[in-house]
Symmetry: C2
Subunit: 524 residues, 2 copies
């Protein structure tokens, strides 16, 4: 790693051993300079070239850096500079290149197969840049009318593109919004559901409310429930099994809800998942919604990852019955080319959301034009008041790639994942551990009988993942632990990933597996 | 407003009366094209020029558009295009210019004096662009080590620049994080406080917890408390008065807490404000903290707006006693040149935050290098798991402007606000309605006796604000209602605002006031 170029001034103290006399610092910029169009142009073109160069060299970086905790903190001064150094922006960009980029995990690398993708596109990235440049705060309709209206248009566009029912869209009496993350989306839906239920059963009975999910549901749900004041004992994580492809069982849900009712508790909320984080399991929405409806519980569908796949009609079946749900969310930043962050939330009854999250104060400017109209003030649809103009990015992505473009994008990854799966299946040393539903392949190395078979399988695969991820030039993957089985996850979804990267990843896996098995046999 | 240029294809349906045959649509882009460096360069340079042109023409836009609800929704097609039109990106940028910009409220206008500023800088905007381009998801240390470490460095830099005590920084055993908004920051602190208190008094007593603020505290606090499950009856809004400059009274707080204790309730949390939204009132932190400590309540300081002023040592006194508080937050996107969004939260005991918000699941990759180290996983410090690399922007702003640059920025606005205040005071028809503490001036037009004096003053000022905001070429301001008095707010803080804009704004106010008074006298 290159030495830091920080020789700027910080309270006159020596930085990294270099004492810099105060007078070499440039004067602080005049205020008028801070948003100067020509300065913006000069620096902006540098930034664009910087990012383009980064994309061009993406394949050369190890996906994950080989660094230890503290590696960067130790390199940087303890204080911000009093005055900027000479050519501070140029120097800072050099530091981003030489100090920061080498310490990042490169989520855009074509060899990033870990977690779920954080899919980027040129249009998504530039949509964010535009939003930052325009820098409006559309917390009410009046605070930036076009931003609110574009968001209303875009959530309907996106909802239709994903084949959601009109009841969840503005055009059908529902509506949507663009938040940051799934946890926020679930929290908002949950608070709306909670308030409705407490209005019904008595506002002092928060301790009696019970929420439901499966043991595969993302922790974001338990976190949201905890934040919303649901008692930790009142979160039912219903066990799933491999025979059911790790889907939540409606019969088990019914039993759990009935037991709670019998105990004097109040079923509040079901978080069903389409495409779980560990294995992309799909909960049966229609049947689960019927059970929840019988107990007066709100149904939210978390399709954080797999929601993007709904852009392809061939996947519509995974949300069969979605007409009955109260809310639905998906992360457009995961697999739909809208850079981080962007979670779309749709609700069937926006008035319940607003009733729970509304704020009113005099300093909120009312617009005379909005009087008498039922305008949407998005501050009443989310945790936050301040918000970003995320709609611009999503609108640009839909405009510039079209629904067909998004389909092609998703299908390309599905096809690569299918290839990877075939390669796993063709090698008898490995097995596919969960039925592939989207572009995630869960698999593991079988442990040979002489090495201890099942008892050592988990340890073997842990070591395999460590070895593979340590190659630097190879793929970067993550793992899941489901039903006691440790498995590797290959999530195809980086925009830059091509068929060859998938083949190369498999080759590295095979080589590391062979080497690991050899080593263990010798050790044995 | 120019007609929309949307003649792209959407399910073959006519758009705006123009039927476009399917074959004229361009083919969806190949996946490899979606993050192509050359394409990014081409589109990126366009976007930079677009934003620079916007800044150059900023003064020409009316700050607030004259539009009616539905104006944009009616102009746009009901569906996203199936395939992109030819030169879709260029066409979309034209639509941003011709359709969207004219419908926005221009927060960067030098004549935007409403709400609080959303201060932009070239470096802040480009920091966001860089973050979007790099597009990493630093939810754990391992998920992008340099991003986590830079955030740890930057919150300490910022805390020191703002003269916060080391007990709130990593270097002093505390620590900070960069979130989106104040409401999130308060919610996180509140959940940490709630869990600590419930561990103490019994986990089933959430209904007994009471939170405290003043009648001037931003609604974000009540919203956060409501989300966290605090009963609406258990939020004490303590009345303030003009004689105390609308500050929260420690004696009143003590009385309220004691009454709750006597009633068997448990004081949980005080949200003190430094720089309230309506009049920038400053709550006395030292005295309030002593009262809260005596009752075991957590103290959070919300300095959303005025926190930025702490970069100037002459304002340090407004947080006297801050060493005793549990948490502190400020919005760097309001007045510190870090574009929307960026709220810095510091806490004295990070372990309490993590205990309340931690998540653990197998798919979260552990890094071998992090084993045995006490690394910060920022997902455990916030509502969300997915998060943006906001530290990059703040680091760039501090590097490129320096602490002195930020001071000059704040002081320039202070000085302009002082000028505005002097002009108000010099005109006997007007009065300053709240002591100016930072760069916000609260004022009103006095109602002449013959028009009804006090009884009509509020109505008169409402009309004045409407008239001023309707001029289009004039300033855009907002209002407050405090102690029954309706006042106008002139918040100086847009980066592009210069002394002349403040003088021009005052001239428009005087002219509109004269005209309004004339009109009312005639009507009388």
């Amino acid at each position: 790693m290159a030495p830091p170029s920080h020789c700027y001034i910080s309270n006159g103290a020596p930085q990294n051993g270099v004492v810099v006399p105060v007078e070499t610092g440039t004067l602080p910029p005049q205020d008028s300079h801070l948003l100067d169009p020509d300065e913006f142009r000069r620096q902006g073109h540098q930034v664009i070239d910087f990012i383009a160069d980064y994309y061009a060299r993406m394949g050369e970086y190890p996906v994950h850096p080989s660094v230890n905790p503290g590696f960067l903190r130790r390199e940087l001064p303890a204080d911000a500079p009093s005055r900027p150094e000479r050519d501070a922006f140029d120097a800072a960009l050099r530091d981003v290149r030489d100090l920061i980029l080498p310490g990042l995990t490169h989520w855009q690398s074509p060899r990033h197969f870990a977690h779920f993708p954080a899919s980027s596109s040129t249009v998504g990235a530039l949509g964010e840049a535009l939003t930052a440049g325009i820098n409006v705060v559309p917390f009410t309709w009046a605070a930036s009318p076009a931003a609110t209206e574009l968001e209303m248009v875009v959530v309907d566009w996106l909802g239709k593109a994903l084949h959601l029912p009109e009841s969840l869209m503005f055009c059908g009496g529902g509506g949507g919004t663009l938040l940051g993350t799934t946890c926020e989306a679930i929290l908002c839906a949950l608070v709306a559901a909670r308030d409705r239920k407490l209005a019904d059963i008595g506002s002092r009975r928060i301790g009696d409310l019970v929420v439901y999910c499966s043991d595969q549901t993302h922790f974001a749900f338990r976190k949201a429930a905890h934040i919303a004041g649901i008692h930790r004992d009142n979160c039912r994580e219903i066990a799933t099994c491999r025979d059911d492809m790790f889907a939540l069982s409606p019969a088990e849900l019914h039993a759990a809800m009935q037991a709670d009712v019998d105990a004097g508790l109040a079923p509040l909320f079901l978080c069903a998942t389409v495409g779980t984080t560990q294995t992309t399991a799909v909960d049966p929405i229609r049947e689960l919604s019927a059970v929840a409806a019988a107990h007066g519980a709100w149904v939210h569908v978390d399709a954080a990852y797999a929601g993007s796949a709904l852009v392809c009609p061939e996947f519509r079946h995974v949300i069969d019955g979605v007409e009955a749900v109260d809310s639905f969310s998906t992360n457009a930043h995961k697999w739909l080319l809208a850079n981080n962050d962007c979670c779309a939330l749709w609700v069937m009854r926006p008035s319940l959301l607003a009733a729970a999250l509304r704020t009113e104060q005099e300093y909120i400017l009312k617009d005379a034009a909005a009087e008498g109209h039922d305008v949407v003030d998005y501050k009443d649809w989310s945790v936050t008041l301040t918000r970003r103009f995320r709609a611009l990015k999503v609108w640009l992505v839909l405009r510039c790639y079209g629904v067909e473009g998004l389909r092609a994008h998703v299908r390309a990854h599905m096809s690569m994942a299918a290839s990877f799966e075939s390669m796993v299946r063709a090698d008898a040393r490995f097995e596919v551990t969960a039925t592939r539903q989207f572009a995630l392949v869960c698999f593991r190395l079988r442990s040979p009988e002489k090495l201890g078979g099942e008892e050592t399988a988990n340890e073997l695969n842990r070591r395999l993942l460590e070895e593979v991820n340590a190659t630097g030039s190879g793929p970067y993957m993550s793992s899941a632990m489901v039903g006691g089985i440790y498995m590797l996850r290959c999530a195809v979804g980086s925009t830059l990933t091509e068929e060859r990267h998938v083949r190369e990843a498999w080759k590295v896996l095979q080589d590391q597996a062979a080497s690991l098995l050899r080593k263990m046999e010798i050790d044995n």
